[in-house]
C-alpha cells in the first residue's frame, strides 16, 4: 500500500517536472520579443538587424543615444504625443470605470427584461471584432465631431463597456444584498449606497478592469489612427509608426527605445496595482 502510494507520488512529481519544462519554454517564447526590445534599444541601428538576439557588445552598444534620437527624431513633438496618450488613457479608463460600474450595478440589482437585453447586448459587443465596425465608426466619429483627443474617450467608453460590464455584473452579484439593505435602513439613498458602500467593495474589480482598459487604450493604434487627424494629434503608437528618417528609412534602434519607453508606464502601473487584485475585500462582511 505504502509502496503504491510512493509510486503514485513519484509519477506525480515526474508529471510536474514535464509540465514545468513545457511552461518554461512557453514563458521564454512569450518573453523573447520583450527581451529583444530591451536589448536592441541599447544597440546601434546597424546591429539591430544583423544581431537581433545578441547582447550589446562594446562595438554595438549605443547607450542612451537611441532614446534621445527616438524622442527628437521626426516632425512631431514626442512629449505632445505622450500627453495625448496619457490624457486619452486616463480619461477613457475613468469614464469606463465610472459609467460601467454604475450600469452593472443597475443591471445586477434590477430584475427586468430591459436589463437583461442591455446585458446581452454588452456581451454581444465583445464578440464583434473592431475591424467590422471601424470604417463606419470613423465616419460617424467625424460627423459627430468626436475626432479629437478630448472626445475620443467617449468612443473608448463604448468599446470598453462590454467587457467592463460583464466583469462588474459578476462581482456585484456576489455582494450580498443585505449590505445594501442595511445601508438603505441606515440612511443611504441609492446613489450614496453605490458610492459609499458598493464602490469600496468593488475596488479589486475596478483595479482589474482599470488595468485591462489602461493597457488597451495606451497601446491602441488603430482607433486613434482612424479617428484622429494624425497630422494634428498623435498618440505614442502613432508617433512610433511615423518614426522614419529621410527617404523613409526606419531607425530600428530608436523605435525599440521608444517602444520600451511606451511600455514602462503600463508595467509600473501593473506592479503597483496587482496586490489589490488579489485582496479579497468582501471577506468577513457576511457569514459564509
Amino acid at each position: 500500500m505504502a509502496e503504491k502510494a510512493k509510486g503514485g507520488l513519484e509519477a506525480e512529481s515526474k508529471g510536474l517536472i514535464v509540465l514545468s519544462v513545457i511552461l518554461a519554454i512557453i514563458c521564454i517564447i512569450w518573453v523573447l520579443p520583450m527581451v529583444a526590445v530591451v536589448i536592441n534599444s541599447f544597440k546601434l541601428n546597424t546591429f539591430v538587424k544583423t544581431e537581433t538576439f545578441a547582447l550589446p557588445t562594446a562595438e554595438s552598444f549605443a547607450g542612451w543615444d537611441n532614446f534621445i534620437k527616438g524622442v527628437t527624431l521626426g516632425n512631431y513633438n514626442f512629449w505632445l504625443a505622450t500627453w495625448y496618450s496619457a490624457f486619452i488613457t486616463i480619461a477613457s479608463s475613468a469614464l469606463i470605470l465610472l459609467f460601467t460600474s454604475m450600469a452593472a450595478w443597475y443591471i445586477a440589482r434590477v430584475d427586468s427584461i430591459f436589463c437583461k437585453v442591455v446585458y446581452f447586448l454588452c456581451i454581444f459587443s465583445m464578440v464583434v471584432p473592431f475591424q467590422m465596425v471601424m470604417f463606419t465608426l470613423s465616419r460617424t466619429a467625424t460627423q459627430l465631431h468626436l475626432d479629437t483627443p478630448w472626445t475620443i474617450p467617449i468612443i473608448y467608453l463604448g468599446f470598453g463597456a462590454g467587457l467592463a460590464i460583464f466583469m462588474f455584473v459578476g462581482f456585484v452579484k456576489s455582494i450580498p444584498l443585505e449590505i445594501e439593505e442595511a445601508a438603505a435602513i441606515d440612511g443611504c439613498s441609492p446613489v450614496r449606497t453605490f458610492f459609499n458602500v458598493d464602490v469600496p467593495m468593488l475596488r479589486p474589480t475596478m483595479i482589474s478592469v482599470g488595468i485591462l482598459e489602461i493597457m488597451w487604450v495606451w497601446n491602441d493604434y488603430l482607433l486613434p489612427y482612424l479617428v484622429l487627424d494624425v497630422e494634428k494629434y498623435r498618440t505614442i503608437p502613432i508617433f512610433i509608426q511615423y518614426l522614419k528618417g529621410s527617404y523613409g528609412t526606419v531607425d530600428l534602434g530608436a523605435t525599440m527605445a521608444l517602444i520600451l519607453l511606451a511600455i514602462i508606464p503600463v508595467i509600473v502601473f501593473y506592479l503597483c496595482a496587482q496586490k489589490y487584485i488579489i485582496e479579497g475585500v468582501a471577506a468577513g462582511a457576511v457569514k459564509g
Binding site: 442595511a182 441606515d186 468577513g284 462582511a285 457569514k287
Partner: protein, 414 residues
Amino acid sequence: MAEVVLEHIEKIYPNTEPKKKKKPKKGQPAEPEKKSNLKITDEGVVAVEDFNLKVADREFVVLVGPSGCGKSTTLRMVAGLESITRGTLTIDGVEMNDVAPKDRDIAMVFQNYALYPHMTVRDNLAFPLKLRKVDPAEINKKVEEAAQILGITQFLDRKPKALSGGQRQRVAIGRAIVREPKVLLMDEPLSNLDAKLRNQMRAEIIKLRQRINTTFMYVTHDQTEAMTLGDRIVIMKDGIVQQIGTPQDVYDHPANIFVSGFIGVPQMNYFNADLKKDGDTYSVLVEGVTIELPEDKQQRLRENGVEAQPITLGARPEHVSIYDGKGDQSHMLSGVVDVSEMMGSEVHLHLNVDGQDVIVIVPTTDVNFTFEKGALDVGKTVKFTFSGAVVHLFSKETEENLEYKNQEQHTFDL
C-alpha cells in the same frame, strides 16, 4: 420607542412567467413538481395573508414559524424593504406604507450581519449617525456607549473580517442600537452562530432589552428563542397567523395542532381518540382507556357546544407519567421502549404504542431511584398515563383546539 400597528397586511408576489418544464431524460421519470402550500390567486403568490398585529410601545414581539411561512417577509415590510400589497402599517400613529426605510426611524439586524467590510467596527457603528449629520463628538460618545454595552470596545479599530461570528453579530446589533431607533427589527440574528454562542447571545439580547427602551420585532424559526425572548409570540404558517399570545398562553392553550407541535421540545404526542358525551359530561376514550376531564375543560367544551366526535388528543412529553408500580393501573396505556435518550438531567423515552412513537420525559433521578433497575430499558413494556387536566383536544376535521375554537385566536391585541 413606538407602537407598531399592522392592519390587514398582505404581501402578494405577482405571477412570473411559468418556467419551461425540463424534459425528463429517457428512462427517467419526470421530476415531481414542488408544491408550496402558499395560496395562489390570480394576482400571484400570497406570501402573507391578512396579518393583524398591534405591537405595544417597548414590547418584544417574536414572529416564529417554519421557513417560508412569511415571517421574514412581514418584518421586511415593516422595515420598508418589501412593498406592502394591501393593508396599513403605522409606526407611532403615522402611516408608513410608502415611506423610505431610512425615514421610518427603524434599525435592523440581519442574519448574515451585513457589516460594511471596508470599514472598521468604529466606522460601521458611526455610519448611520454620520449619515444623519450628528455632531462628531456626539457620534464618538454614542459609539463608545454602544461598544461598552456590547463588550466590543477592544475591537473598535478592527475590520469585520478580523472578528469571530459572535463579535460580528454584536457589531451588527451595535450599529442598530447606536442611533436609538423607534423600532428594532431582528431577522434571525442568531441563526449563524453555533449552539453555545447562540445561548450566550440570547441571554445578552435579554439583557440588552432591559438596557435600551425600544420596541423589538424579532424573527426566528427557533421556538426556544421565541419562548425565552418574546413578551408575545406570533406563530405563522403558510403566510397565515396561527396564534398570537404570550409564551405561556401558546404553550398552555395552542390554537391548533400546528401550534401545539411547533411550540415545545420534544414535540407533543398525538393519539387518535374519541370524545364521548354523556349528558353534560365529556370524557375521552383513547386506546381503550377512558380519561376523565376536569371541570374547567368540561365547561369550555359545553360553552363551545362541542358534540361527541373522533378527535386528535395531544399530550406533551413532560405531562406523560410512567407507572411506577404504585397504585391503580387500570387506566394506563402501554408501550414498548424503543429508544432511550440520556439528556443529562432527564431521559427521553421513545415508546412504541401500536406502531406510533410516543415520547416521555422522565427525570434522571426517577430513572435511578423511583423505578426498579432496568425497568425502563430498551425492549421493556411500560405503562403510562396522563392527566385529563393537561391534555389538548383537537378536532379531526379542522385541527383546531375544541376548547378554544370559538374564541378569537387571531388576537389583534391582548
